[in-house]
Symmetry: C2
Subunit: 213 residues, 2 copies
DNA sequence: AAATATATTACGAAAATTGTATTATTTTAT
DNA sequence: ATAAAATAATACAATTTTCGTAATATATTT
């Protein structure tokens, strides 16, 4: 058995599936397209996965597991706040972690028994772990205290859908406030308050314009 | 003939088609899904459009026309830079203008004669107009001079794909530089340089960390 | 050279999509 | 209120897409 070779194509298929599922969702992507994208034949696919659903499960498990792992590693490692956010930035750019809306949407539509529950549970677990990790970092003063954990979570997920995501929008009174948060995030970074920021208001109530004395 | 009523459903279908095409591309979205999304029946669809291709053409025309119009209006109107960028922000949030990659991709795959050329030309025209408008504003000192026109264009298109867009990335030596641009954008906004920023380097060569005296 | 992994091609079955027809319901104008 | 128009709902055949398997050929590994 050629262990390394055996897994090579499998991982390529897995990666391609993730990329395509992420963008277009589960049902919109035919198996053959995944194979084309992965440079594999359909037969090779069926050697590793019995059908598309099992493939999707594998993708889901990979992401929740490995992505969360990477995220936690970055949060816990010995580095500056700026370095942390830079790495999370890059992690997000790779699109390596977290589950896309489109992917879950189609998965939910599937009437497979137990699948929805399985996903719900795993999602909730991951979410709680991320929040807990974030608060861990926040407690140690690595991140601003007035930055909502939910914000960084969503930010690290997908900058793309940030401003159109209903869930994220619902965290703020108006769309304006979300824009403020984004602006503040880029203006101040994630570092805790320091002596240079004396004119700030309370949490999430700063003016939209960055102060420039 | 009830003119207003006649166009109501048609516009809803058009809007739904745009939303779905934008996200998933042309071929991945069945007509019935568009109808569902628009709250219209299939028969109503076929009353307005002979087939999906004609619908896509209509969507394309609408977007290049109306979207560009709105963009230019914002750029040209009498308002502050901050106000302009805010409106462009909101415009982008609505996802109202510019053509998505997925949409064009599928359109290109279609062997319809002349379609590709038609799209290419219209796209190029719009692109040139936007750039020209941008430089117009830049010349009048409304925007920073060291902000690449291409950047604002892409920014206004889709913040989402910003950091994964190959074209945009290729405008910068490294991904770091793009991140710098994003950071600077949010840190300084689009306003021209003022007295508060004396420690800046040359174009696109500032440090990644915002200065905080 | 043998064994294994993969690609290619073909294929039938199942499912999805398209486009049309028919009839019922709702909306609009008079 | 009534007629006309617009729309919805349903059903349908024709077409296309997708799925999953098989048989055979090619490439890779051992």
């Amino acid at each position: 058995m050629t262990s390394p070779s055996k897994n090579r194509k499998r991982l390529q298929i897995l990666a391609s599936a993730r990329d395509l599922f992420w963008k277009y969702g589960f049902r919109r992507v035919p198996i053959e397209e995944i194979c084309r994208h992965a440079g594999a034949s359909k037969m090779t696919f069926y050697r590793f996965f019995p059908n598309k659903i099992e493939l999707a499960k594998a993708v889901f498990d990979e992401e929740t597991g490995r992505g969360l792992e990477r995220f936690r590693t970055i949060l816990r490692e010995e580095s500056s706040s700026a370095e942390k956010i830079r790495k999370i930035f890059l992690l997000k750019m790779e699109g390596t972690h977290n589950i896309s809306k489109e992917f879950l949407q189609d998965f939910y539509g599937n009437s497979e028994v137990g699948l929805k529950q399985y996903i719900d549970q795993k999602t909730k677990e991951s979410w709680n772990e991320v929040l807990s990790d974030f608060r861990y970092a926040q407690d140690r003063g690595w991140f601003r205290r007035d930055l909502k954990p939910e914000f960084l979570y969503y930010f690290s997920q997908k900058v793309g859908d940030m401003l159109t995501d209903e869930k994220l929008l619902s965290l703020y009174p108006t769309a304006q406030d979300l824009i403020k948060e984004v602006t503040n995030f880029f203006a101040y970074g994630i570092s805790p308050a320091d002596q240079s920021r004396t004119s700030r208001d309370g949490e999430h109530e700063r003016t939209q314009e960055p102060e420039r004395p």
